[in-house]
Symmetry: C2
Subunit: 126 residues, 2 copies
DNA sequence: TTTTCATGTTAGATAATATGACATACACTT
DNA sequence: AAGTGTATGTCATATTATCTAACATGAAAA
């Protein structure tokens, strides 16, 4: 079984991550610019992604499809990593909360969630 | 948990495989030339390896360190994939068997198997 | 000694990726 | 209606990573 292959190990080049997530390189880099992911870099400055990064990207994609913007997603991630605190409502400011809720409301009547997570990678190789 | 991430999925570039296996690109390509592995190729002809390929490479490395040559390793792999047959001794010709056994014998008094499989990848990123 | 085997090394070509700039569609705001 | 902001597309240019092919080499086998 070779190594331990931790999910945090940077193993994947951006091309593979594009296939796994069905995101463009532009999108992936944009999310990095906004500090939503922090892929490792090779000595030659190439991004190298871990499986955790891939999961995060899929979450981002999902949130975006729900109409949440970069700022909202970032805050959501911060919250997720914040363990339960004695003042749970202190996590979001009122303004932040209203902002997110408003977007959620306005985007409520949405469907076609047929986003299929099964992208067939085989077609990329011969 | 994102995708299924089958162990047979071609996800890794050769640079990563080099790190995971501590083999040189030259060695990896050489083993491919000898049909011990069959990595996928991108449209641009770059090799792309699966986790199974990595496992196979680690096996090859191990066999080589035991003094077994390409032909022997190839035959061993063929055997492993050959399900149990009614004539188990029909798998190897006498000559092949003697050849392998001889090598095993002559290489018998060997030690320093301290090959640590835990290669610290962190040093490759910043 | 001469081969064979596994690997090193180098050269030249090309693919993959990086960054940065400009363009654009859409939703919101004023 | 006009203006803004956000997420993404597209293009140009630079650099890294990988490819193939050829020649070199040390150790072991014949």
């Amino acid at each position: 079984m070779s190594q331990q292959l931790r999910r945090s190990m940077p193993l994947l080049p951006i091309s593979i991550v594009m296939q796994l997530t069905e995101l463009t390189a532009r999108q992936i880099r944009y999310y990095e610019d906004h500090d939503l992911i922090h892929p490792a870099r090779t000595e030659g400055n190439r991004r190298m992604f871990s499986l955790i990064d891939v999961d995060t990207l899929l979450e981002i994609k999902d949130f975006l499809e729900q109409g949440i913007n970069m700022a909202g997603i970032k805050k959501l991630f911060e919250m997720k990593n914040q363990p339960i605190v004695q003042e749970p409502k202190a996590q979001l400011t009122d303004a932040e909360l209203r902002s997110i809720l408003r977007i959620e409301m306005q985007q409520a009547g949405r469907f076609q969630k047929a986003s299929l997570r099964q992208g067939d990678l085989s077609r990329f190789y011969h």
